[in-house]
Subunit: 454 residues, 2 copies
């Protein structure tokens, strides 16, 4: 047994609960974040990985000042309460045992490294402050998502990663091959990596009512932007007996719940992001929690954008007309300058949305919604699904997506009902919540074109 | 808004809390599981997907007897408490609205279907009792796993699915290709689907101390057994400052916790499996919860097996000698007949275990453990990792696995420490807990060679 009872987190928890006892004996293992010595006394910033904040060790034995940054140590000593200092407690180290001497060529130096450089050492960067905070928030956000759905009796479904279907009917996909000489032999089908679990999870909504996926998805686009990765995690809830309005209610509750959960459970990390990464981050997030989300139709939005243009507003994509795909600049204008808060844009032209979305009575628009938020634009997309067998079949034939999806059509024939869902990228959500602006900085080992070192 | 407040689950929860009120009005939507009429009065077994048990609807209006099995309905009526009946409450239906008439050729008929047939209708089988129960337990088990680790301050890490490494140094892997003509162009590397996230997550254990993965893994084996799938989910915890003994303590707590959580949170489903799928299932699981897990070295196990053979025990693989890989029959003999309960087998010959496992002082065995359980054999495998840079490098060279894993070696050079972890297949664990004997029956859309219809 080498595991110790005590951790950074337990010490901070005890402190916060007013239960940390002066002179209490400690025996704790972790890593040296800094080590300095003023000639009389030495100070080590110590962290064992369990909590965002370091603990200060104070030592007298001068030989400890040789312990290098990054090294692994065991510390025996006593808690010292220092209520009048900036750090309200420290550990008086009686004995420091060097468990592993960090080699001198440690690439992660004490100085400030660029994020670009840190991406090159993906195996070490979780130890750097920004990433130490980001991957903690990533963990908390993932759990918040499960908690939200589990508390509401949703069933978590592992939709398949390898698939013969392509939900969006578009987009480049990765092929999955066991034998390059006979690529379709293994599965006796054209196998690829999924871009969405939605179609698969709809079948489960028609058995369990409320379900969700939370798993990886893939895109084989040669995209080098800060928002695209070849591999990412997605959340796709699907609800039976649920129309677009119910769907939007769920999206709003969901977003508020998970943001609040992260702020409540990662206060130190969120303070760090607010001060070091995006000034005003916490205000932005509190604003979302406290807003009532607004609703606007696509048609209304086009009118507003046209009027803005008439009044001199310049958009990069300035050919505003009904039927166009809104660009991020348009979405941001609507959410930032018109409603000044989160906005559901609804009822999009059927031509620019996916085949499975419910056709509205106007025969021109579909019951789709995008949730727009300030500084980002679209954060979540959802829709009511076409539950009418004949309309869905006609649409699938029209877009040439009717082969191999007979099973999906079955869901309208046997026990069908009004149902809706939404989807969002987990990594982009994490970018929004941390203020980190590159998807490569919120993923443990990002996969992008040309990037597969780790 | 079409979503209703009331669900099967809420009605059963109210009943169980003694809060279900006689004559209470209900308005609820769901599916018809059976519909029969004795001439005077009709009965519908109703389920809305939120709870394992059906609710009985009683109606007078004879026209409702034409509503077909599988159809979607809305029911308006009143709760009727019937404390003296087998079903302690029912719904007196005043009005039943047919929302979707299930087509007559519904493949899921009321009769008992074979599991083989049900696999052919993967999109409809979640509605069949066994699968309705199995995917509920799957959900609960997944959440139990997250809860266990989150309560212990482990950090959840999404290790990558697309990788250039191969943790096991063996096994057939799927290649990931964007363009079949230029297979390595996209990533500028030989990209494949991961078989394990362990090596990647070790880097995170050295930053956060206790971490875990829970995500998909893949094997491209042409295996047609009931225990192999091409795609499955794995759990891989990794702990810093943790030796093999600590590791086994964690495994034992983990297994007991998640089994207890499932029994406590899916009592109806587990009773169903106990009576319909594996007689004695609950006894088997309670025995695990209440056992103290035993420990035995591989060397002791070989002696016991040799002695058993001398005493006339016949094994299919009967050439018992030190250095052999134990077969399932040997593992089952040890756990079922020798210790009669869960058993950790430890200290395996280094030749039959993976390169990253810690070499013991005898220079012959490694600090590995397999957790064996009755009726299955190996359920979980774990090990202490080699933390010595030179020994690990020598071993990696010996097995020809030193190229491309320099970053993995770095973890022994910069802030290394004693660390350990374990891994288990989620789907096999679910088989063990439900008693279902084919992995195809616990996965939403199983992927096996030649099988990719959905």
């Amino acid at each position: 047994m080498v595991k110790k009872e005590l951790t950074n987190r337990k010490i901070f928890d005890a402190y916060n609960a007013n239960k940390l006892i002066d002179n209490q004996e400690v025996d704790i293992q972790g890593w040296v974040k800094t080590n300095r010595n003023n000639g009389q006394v030495g100070f080590i910033e110590f962290n064992d990985g369990t909590f965002f904040k370091n603990i200060q060790l104070v030592y007298q034995n001068e030989s400890y000042s040789k312990i290098r940054y990054g090294s692994t140590i065991e510390v025996k000593g006593n808690i010292k309460l220092t209520p009048n200092n900036k750090q309200p407690f420290e550990i008086t180290a009686k004995e420091i045992i060097l468990l592993n001497d960090c080699a001198e060529d440690y690439p992660l130096q004490k100085k400030r490294h660029s994020f670009e450089f840190l991406r090159e050492i993906a195996h070490l960067r979780p130890r750097a402050n920004t990433f130490y905070a980001a991957f903690r928030v990533r963990n908390t956000l993932a759990y918040a998502i499960h908690k939200f759905f589990q508390e509401r009796n949703f069933i978590y479904v592992h939709t398949p990663l390898i698939t013969a279907n392509d939900a969006e009917g578009a987009g480049q996909v990765f092929k999955v091959v066991a034998d390059m000489k006979h690529p379709d032999d293994f599965f006796k089908a054209n196998a690829s990596l999924t871009v969405s679990g939605q179609l698969h999870v709809e079948a489960f909504a028609l058995a369990f009512q409320d379900v969700y996926t939370f798993g990886p998805a893939f895109r084989a686009e040669e995209s080098f932007t800060s928002r695209h990765a070849s591999e990412f995690w997605m959340i796709e809830p699907e609800m039976a007996f649920c129309d677009l309005e119910d769907d939007m209610n769920c999206m709003e509750s969901f977003l508020k719940y998970i943001i609040k959960y992260v702020i409540d459970n990662c206060p130190e990390e969120m303070k760090f992001f607010d001060s070091m990464i995006e000034k005003g981050l916490l205000d932005k997030l509190h604003h979302v929690i406290n807003s009532e989300f607004k609703k606007m139709t696509y048609t209304e939005a086009i009118e507003i954008l046209k009027k803005a243009k008439e009044n001199g507003k310049k958009f990069e994509y300035n050919d505003i007309k009904w039927g166009m795909d809104l660009q991020s600049e348009h979405e941001r204008y609507l959410t930032e300058e018109i409603v000044k808060g989160p906005l559901f844009l609804i009822d999009y032209p059927k031509e620019i949305k996916a085949f499975y979305m419910k056709l509205n009575k106007d025969n021109k628009t579909v019951a789709a919604c995008d949730l727009l938020v300030p500084y980002v634009g679209e954060l979540i997309g959802g829709s009511q699904r076409e539950e009418d067998y004949d309309k869905l079949l006609a649409k699938m034939k029209e877009v040439g997506n009717d082969k191999g999806l007979e099973w999906y059509l079955d869901l309208r024939k046997y026990g069908g009902c009004i149902h809706s869902g939404f989807g969002l990228g987990f990594d982009r959500l994490l970018m929004y919540i941390t203020g980190l602006s590159n998807i490569r900085d919120v993923q443990p080992y990002p996969r992008t074109p040309g990037s597969l070192k780790y």
